[in-house]
Structures are given as C-alpha cells and as structure tokens.
C-alpha cells in the first residue's frame, strides 16, 4: 500500500517545492516574526509570552495558507489536466491517491512549520536570551490541526473546485473552533455533539503562558487528529471512488 501512497505523496512534495508560494509565505512570515518584538502592545514582564502567542498565530496563518493552497488545487487540477489518468489508470486505488495526496500536503505543512519554528526560536533566543522550546509543542498542535483541515480540503476537492474547497474548509475551521459560541445558544444545543471540535489543538495557553503541553495531552491530540483526519479521508476516498474521471 505505502509503495503506491508514498510516490504520490512525494509527487506532491516535489510540486510544492517548485511552487514559489511556499517560499514567499515562509520568508514573509519569518520577516514578520523578526518584527514581533517591535509590537506596541508589549507590556513589561510578559514580552516572551506575547512573543510566543503572536509567533504561534503567525505560524498558524502561514501554514494554513500553504496547506489550503496545496489542498484546494491539487486534485482538481490533476483531474482537469488529466494527469490523474496516468496514476489511477494503473493498479492504484482511488483511496491510495487521496491518502497520498493528503500525506504529501501534510508533510509539506510539517516541513514548513519546522522551518518556521526554527526561525521563531532563533528570534526568541536572540531577543530574550531564552530557548523557547515550548514553541515546538505549539508547532506539533498546529501541524496536527492542519492535517485535519488538509484532510477536509482534500475530501471536498475530490468532487469540486478550489473555491468551494476553500469555503468549506474555512467553514469547518470556524465551526470547529467556535462550536460553543456558535452552537452553544439556547435552542441549538442539540447540534453541538455533531460538530467536531478543533479546540483540542488549541494549546496557546500552555505554550505561551505555561510550561508546555503535557505528554498525555499531546498523545490525545494525536488520537483526535487520527480520528478526524481518518473520517475526512474516508469520506474523500468514497466520494472520489464514485466519481467519473
């Protein structure tokens, strides 16, 4: 199985390396990270905490744009340009194509996050003389959430185009993080259990203001990631499997 999934993922990675958008976003984000210490809202004694909080937000937005730009276009463009025929015309199952595509995007997101986190930690060390290792916890949480969102995007992209993919994925993101706010009101409470929460990946407090994410919580995040990504990819595989190419 992996002998077919991995080459597809590697193709996505090679394609993303070619795309300038990944580099441009990373460089732009790195420049912004360098500028964080200059923010006017800094208060005495909380500089490094605010730095970590803003750095995480910056990493989140950067990788979200990278993951979405890859996930929204990959399958639709391969179908439109018919490059997909050379793949699924072989002994490659449709679900392997979907999983391989997602895996490639997930790994690109991970690589981008790792690179960006190194820059953040370097900037933090140079500015405050402190090695902010907690940022790695934040990076892992963001990476896992991007994995879920990429899976949703790939699933939606298996039957529709980039605009719908972006809209649907951002809707899942807002709904996932705002479940209690959006569905917590009177009369809507019954819907809440049906809406998957992405709040499990929100580790801003322990990373920015605490002492990092506890190992058990980290493990449970992996479980949530595996469950939600698995469901999204399964739906995507079924939808793509039923599609005429």
């Amino acid at each position: 199985m992996m002998s077919r999934v991995w080459p597809i993922a590697a193709g996505v990675i090679a394609d993303s390396i070619r795309r300038k958008i990944v580099y441009v976003l990373l460089v732009f984000a790195a420049l912004l990270a360098l500028a964080i210490p200059a923010l006017p809202s800094y208060g005495l004694g909380v500089e490094s905490a605010v730095f970590r909080e803003v750095a995480m937000a910056l990493a989140y937005l950067t990788v979200l744009v990278i993951a979405l730009s890859l996930a929204a276009n990959r399958v639709p463009s391969e179908v439109e340009r018919r490059t997909v025929y050379n793949v699924v015309g072989k002994a490659v199952a449709r679900w392997e194509y979907i999983v391989g595509t997602w895996l490639g995007i997930f790994l690109v997101a991970g690589g981008s996050l790792a690179a960006f986190t190194v820059v953040e930690i370097a900037v933090g060390y140079l500015t405050y003389g402190e090695v902010m290792w907690q940022l790695w916890h934040g990076a892992v949480a963001i990476w896992l959430e991007m994995g879920v969102l990429s899976a949703v995007a790939v699933a939606v992209s298996s039957i529709t185009g980039p605009v719908v993919v972006v809209t649907a994925t951002l809707s899942v993101l807002f709904l996932g993080h705002g479940r209690s706010a959006l569905l917590g009101g009177e009369g809507a409470l019954a819907l809440a259990p049906f809406v998957p929460s992405l709040e499990a990946f929100n580790v801003v407090n322990p990373v920015a203001h605490g002492s990092g994410v506890p190992p058990l919580y980290m493990l449970s995040m992996f479980a949530v990631f595996a469950g939600l990504s698995g469901i999204a990819l399964a739906v995507g595989a079924v939808l793509f499997g039923r599609r005429d190419l």
Binding site: P7, A10, A14, K90, A91
Partner: protein, 316 residues
Amino acid sequence: MSDASPAIRVNGARKVYKLFVGAPARDAVHDVSLEVAPGTIHGLLGPNGAGKTTTLKMLLGLVRPSAGTFTILGEDSTRPSGRRKAGFMPEQPYFPQHLTAEHALRLYAQLAGVPNGEIPGRTAELLERVGLSGWGRGALSTFSRGMQQRLGIAQALISKPEVVILDEPASGLDPVGQRDVRNLMLALRDAGVTVLLSSHQLSEVETVCDEVTILNGGLVAAEGRIDDLLNVAGRTSIRARDLGDALPDAVRPVAESVAVSGSTWVFSVPDDSVRMVVDAIDEAGGRLVSVTPMRDSLEDYFARLLARTAGEVESR
C-alpha cells in the same frame, strides 16, 4: 477470435450520464461488447462521440459503468488489482510539468510496482525506444506535444505490461513519429503483448490491426478481422500496364471501378471472369501487374458503415 481466452473482454458495457435527479439520461455507451485475443492488435474505431474513450475508461475503472463486465487477463479490470498487467496511455497525455522525463517515469514505475533497482535501466531503455533518449533530464514543461505523446507511450510500457491500451497514440505526432508508433505496436505484438488501440487514423488501424470493432452511437456497428471486413466478396482487383487507350473488348463488359494513371489500369472484375480477363490482357499485349482480392479502403468502409447505421442509432 482464437480459442484462447481473450486478453480483454468487455461484455454489455453501458454508461448512462445523468447530471442531476430528474434530468434526462444520456447514453454515452449503449451496449458494447468486445473481445481481444492475446497477442493481437485490436482497433477500436468510431466517429467522435461513438463511445470509444468512455468504453476504454470503463475498462480501466476511470468511469463507473452503468452496466457490463470488464476483464483484463481474466481479472476484473475495474478494480486496481485487475490492472496490474495492463499499461494505459490516455488520449493527449499530460504530465506534472515540474518533473523531468526521468522523474516522471520513475514516479509511474513506482506506482506500477517496478522494483527500485530496475527503474533506471528500464527508464533509459524506454526513453530510447520512444525516441526520447537524451531527453531524460529535460523538464517536461519544455516538451513539445509530440514528445509528451512519446512519453505517454513510455509510461504505459514502464511495467512491461502484457496488455497495452492506447487511446489515440499517434495524435499530435509527425509522420515519422506516427511510423515509429506503428512499428512499436508491431514490435509489441511480436513480443506477445496484446494491444487495444483506439484511433481516428484509419490508415494506422488498417496497417497494424488484426481485428477491429467499430462503434457508432454507443453501439457496435461492425467487428471482425480487417481482411474479412474490407475484402469485397466475389470481386478481384486487376492492375495492368500497356493496354493502350482502352481496355480489351472482352474485358470492358465485366470491368468496374476503372481507373487509369499513366499507362497503368486498375479495375475490378467478377472472380469467375479472372481467367478470361488475364488471357485477354495477354492477347492485347498488356502486362499484368497484380491480381488481388478486391478490397475496400477502410475509409470507404467506415463511411458506408456509419451512413448505414446512422438510422439505427437515431431510432434508438
């Protein structure tokens, strides 16, 4: 068709497209069955919209059939495992433009399950075979249409398949490229590979195919060996030279489809008149060039067949 079980079998293929619930259904393929004997080249012909590509796509699991069964070497080819021994070149193949030819073939070789150690050698061999040696490290974004077509054939052959399905393989190629593709198909057949070829190029089909299936309006309009389809029963084609300004008197009443080019006469006669006609040409001092069973051109046969079956398609 030989007694051996067919390399490719399509039975009762049907594809109905319906855009949404309540919309009228449209049959892209109404009822197509075909069998391809092992080690032969089988042509799939038909006008635009006849259902050729849809049939091939159903065979390869790219389109979900509304009905029918599809097997390659006895295995259900709509499942990935049933396509392990098949290679497919889609019409006008496209490739990820950021790859080089070598990288693309490596990717497709990995997907086809070629052992890693064999990939470099096989890639080099195939690039040479399709006339792209020296282009292995060339970016596909710089490849011409014809070069991409050649690479498409290479990727179809990367796993040394026993069955090759080619959709318009000569499309976009120059005459030399078309000849190369024909020779490649013949070489594949000589090596025991079964080839199913969909093409608009009737001369290509006539040259290389052992059998053909002609589709029209999603139905099989004709099928069989090329010779059986094109030979005109009961008539012989005569080619002779130096007959002067007119055919001998004895020949004139039985000759049909008479054509003259320079000193060469070409005409057809009933089979039972051949002996008499040959003698008459001798007596008139002419030189007999050839005596062959009269044969339609595939173009003429194709045009007549489509005209004949148009009514059936419309009445469906």
